[in-house]
């Protein structure tokens, strides 16, 4: 056992097996979880203390196998090979034992101490699957701890086992293949060991297997040893001749067959209650006609509920603040002090009165839908339509997440298999109204013009996104690769986890965004006092006033809106010198519609710009801003003419 420094423990498992849920249960809520494959696209690390030992626990992106096919898998593979991990916790989905074992067998090749957390044991039971844990442990020679991460079951046992395994530092033994394959692996591994020397960090046997699978990462790793590569190529050809299938398929089949045999030995399947319930729900939800009806209802209910919960709260909270503002306006004598105080009150009121009433139900409902397992089903239903705009069903997932916040939605584009799909999605995501902009839509359009107008906004928005997808798609020559996605079984979301996740985001808003709202508001007060706002407004007047027909004063708010989209709303009332609840006295209906339309589409907020830059580079970031401004101006003018 390492006597100094933190112990590095990596959580590895297939997508949607509950790694992140287990991670959160171990270290307290830190990672995003959901019931859709591939939520974790980058690893999360957290330090914790158990019985005086310091652990660094790392939640790695889900991977079906130890290969480098997509970005998430590549990340996991690279981490496991290059970072000095002390122990691997292999999280397995007990309901999919046979398939999960295929990854387990590969992890065993890493030569690191390992523990299996056999997760979702409750799910397995309700599906009538019984697993003989002791027998599984015997066959694999690795400790197996049954867990139910959602309810925090099995965690203590897991920690105790970690301490025990760390003491012995015993790595599992590797599995053996059938004779023809095994002989070649052994020989190739031997040659690799001779070539790279005994101190090489990656086990030669693992390299040998991966070379026979022609894995790009390992081929690249060995490119300094042409002798090894040509030997591997010869062996691949031999295997293909002898086994009648391409070498990668042969190796895969070895693991697959072994996994099936192990799973058969340790599993007993009885009645299948849960499964038939899933079938019944899916026969409606995934039905080519009924499914669309359900989707429409869900879409409508989602926004309707947010409005029904948010608007009375908005009314309730803004009233007192409006009165307070009146008092400040009439009673405070010093002009600078008055401007600053007004800004302060507007900023505080904006947070409590406008953002939180809509933000909380939105985040809650979105997280509920995610955990339920509905989003992958939407991906299936919309696959055909998404092809019409040059994408496939999976791309809908980042777009739906965009209703929450564009930043994680851009990060989620990593779940897509190829570059073109990722770029198109990343350009479309910022056009989907995020929680901040939905707040603006509700607080302005729904509040002053009625909820149907708001619904129209959301439908029109989808139309614009689809149209734009089609246009951007025209710039790419290669067609989309197509959908290939696991559909997880339904899970009733744990209310505690849904509340926790909502709270995490609300906390972020309170600590990070709200101070910015208040500060921005105060700064605007000072700017107004110093008359600088006039200058800014004059510069933007050609666009804001001449083209869009909005009051000149709106110019400043749009600049601040790039920091946080909520600022446009909070500062709008301040810039126009009106209380939030009475904006309809200073803006016409037409202006409200045009303003909201413009705010929905124009330049992405600074955090979104940042993540697009980081993920896709300057060029795409520039395009994103250009697309936003163009669409915002065009739709703004369109509605100015139409309304």
């Amino acid at each position: 056992m390492k006597s100094y420094g933190p112990v590095k423990i990596a959580l590895v498992g297939q997508p949607n097996c509950g790694k992140s849920t287990l991670f959160n249960a171990l270290v307290g809520l830190k990672a995003q979880t959901s019931n859709l494959p591939g939520t974790t696209v980058q690893y999360t690390r957290s330090r914790m203390n158990y019985r005086g030992r310091i652990f660094d626990i790392i939640d790695l992106p889900g991977t079906y196998s130890l290969s480098s096919q997509d970005m998430a898998e590549h990340e996991t593979l690279k981490y496991l090979l290059t970072e000095e991990v002390d122990l691997i916790i292999n999280v397995m989905d007990a309901t999919l034992l046979s398939r999960s074992l295929e990854l387990t067998l590969q992890l065993m090749e890493l030569g690191k101490p390992m523990i299996i957390a056999l997760n979702m044991m409750d799910e397995a039971k309700s599906k009538g699957i019984y697993i003989d844990v002791k027998k599984l442990q015997e066959i694999l020679g690795i400790p197996v701890i049954p867990t139910v991460a959602v309810h925090g079951k099995g965690l203590k046992e897991l920690f105790e086992k970690i301490l025990e395994v760390l003491k012995t530092e015993k790595a599992p033994e590797f599995y053996r293949c059938s004779r023809i394959v095994e002989e070649r692996i052994k020989k190739l591994a031997h040659e690799i060991e001779k070539a790279v020397g005994p101190n090489f960090k990656i086990p030669p046997r693992l390299i040998a297997i991966k070379l026979l699978e022609s894995d790009d990462y390992f081929v690249d790793l060995m490119k300094g040893y042409p002798g090894i590569l040509s030997l591997a190529e010869n062996m691949r050809n031999e295997l293909e001749d002898l086994m009648g299938a391409p070498s990668p398929d042969v190796i895969h089949a070895e693991r697959h067959n072994l996994s099936m045999r192990i799973a058969e030995k340790v599993t007993k399947v009885q009645h299948r209650l849960k499964k038939s319930l899933d079938d019944k729900i899916d026969s409606v939800v995934m039905h080519p006609v009924l499914g669309y009806g359900i989707l429409g209802v869900v879409f409508f209910l989602f926004f309707y509920l947010i409005f029904k919960i948010g608007s009375p709260l908005e009314e309730f909270f803004t009233g007192p603040f409006d009165r307070l503002l009146d008092v400040v306006h009439t009673q405070v004598s010093g002009e600078l002090l008055r401007f600053v105080l007004e800004g302060l009150v507007q900023g505080i009121a904006g947070g409590i009165g406008i953002v939180l009433p809509y933000f909380i139900p939105l985040v809650f409902l979105l997280s509920f839908l995610e955990d339920l397992g509905y989003l992958p089903r939407v991906a299936f239903l919309l696959d055909g339509l998404m092809h019409k705009i040059g994408l496939h069903g999976k791309s809908i997932i980042p777009l739906i997440l965009g209703y929450g916040c564009s930043v994680p939605a851009i990060a989620a584009t990593r779940i897509l298999d190829n570059e073109r799909d990722r770029i198109i999605s990343a350009l479309l995501v910022p056009l989907v109204p995020c929680a901040a902009r939905i707040t603006v839509i509700f607080a302005l359009v729904a509040y002053f013009l009625g909820p149907w107008w708001a619904l129209f906004f959301f439908v029109f928005n989808i139309f614009v996104v689809a149209l734009l997808g089609r246009i951007i798609n025209g710039f790419f020559k290669t067609p989309s690769y197509g959908l290939l996605m696991e559909i997880p079984s339904y899970k009733i979301p744990s209310l505690k986890i849904t509340f926790d996740k909502t709270w995490l985001q609300v906390k972020n808003f309170i600590y990070l965004a709200w101070p910015l709202l208040i500060a921005g508001s105060v700064v605007l007060g000072v700017i107004q006092y110093l008359n600088i706002d006039n200058l800014i407004n004059t510069v933007f007047s050609p666009l804001v006033h001449t083209v869009l027909g909005l009051p000149r004063e709106v110019g400043t708010t749009l600049i601040f809106g790039i920091l946080r989209k909520e600022l446009t709303l909070v500062m709008l009332s301040q810039a126009l010198g009106s209380e939030i609840g009475k904006l309809d006295r200073v803006l016409t209906r037409e202006q409200i519609v045009v303003f909201t339309m413009f705010v929905t589409f124009y330049i992405p907020c600074i955090s979104t710009i940042g993540i697009i830059w980081r993920e896709y580079g300057k060029k795409i970031m520039f395009y994103s801003i250009l697309v936003g401004l163009t669409v915002a101006t065009l739709t703004g003018v369109l509605f100015r003419i139409l309304v």
Binding site: Y64, S65, S67, Q69, T95, L96, S98, R99, E102, K127, S214, P246, P248, D249, H252, A253, H256, M260, A263, K275, D279, D282, S283, M286, H287, P288, V289, G291, Y292, P376, A379, F380, L381, L382, D383, G384, L385, H387, K388, H392, G393, D417, Y481, G482, L483, L484, M485, E486, I487, P488, S489
Partner: protein, 71 residues
């Protein structure tokens, strides 16, 4: 294949990438699959691997490369 029908997977045509992906998702030659639903507008096909319980949505293009024998 129509919804509700079952078939045995024989082999996969198409490139290595798609082939490995399908197998990693838990659909292998020899497995029995059942078509649960077919998405409209030329959309994906929702299938269950009866042999191990995996459920997958597969786009039409990739699905056409899976060679099956109806049961």
């Amino acid at each position: 294949m129509r919804p509700g029908t079952t078939a045995r997977v024989e082999s996969f045509a198409g490139g290595r990438r798609a082939r490995m992906r399908i197998m990693q998702l838990g659909i292998n030659p020899g497995d029995v699959i059942k078509v649960l639903s077919i998405g409209p507008f030329g959309g994906a096909i929702y299938i269950e691997n009866v042999s191990n319980g995996t459920r997958v949505a597969i786009g039409r293009g990739i699905a056409s490369k899976i060679i099956v024998k109806p049961l």
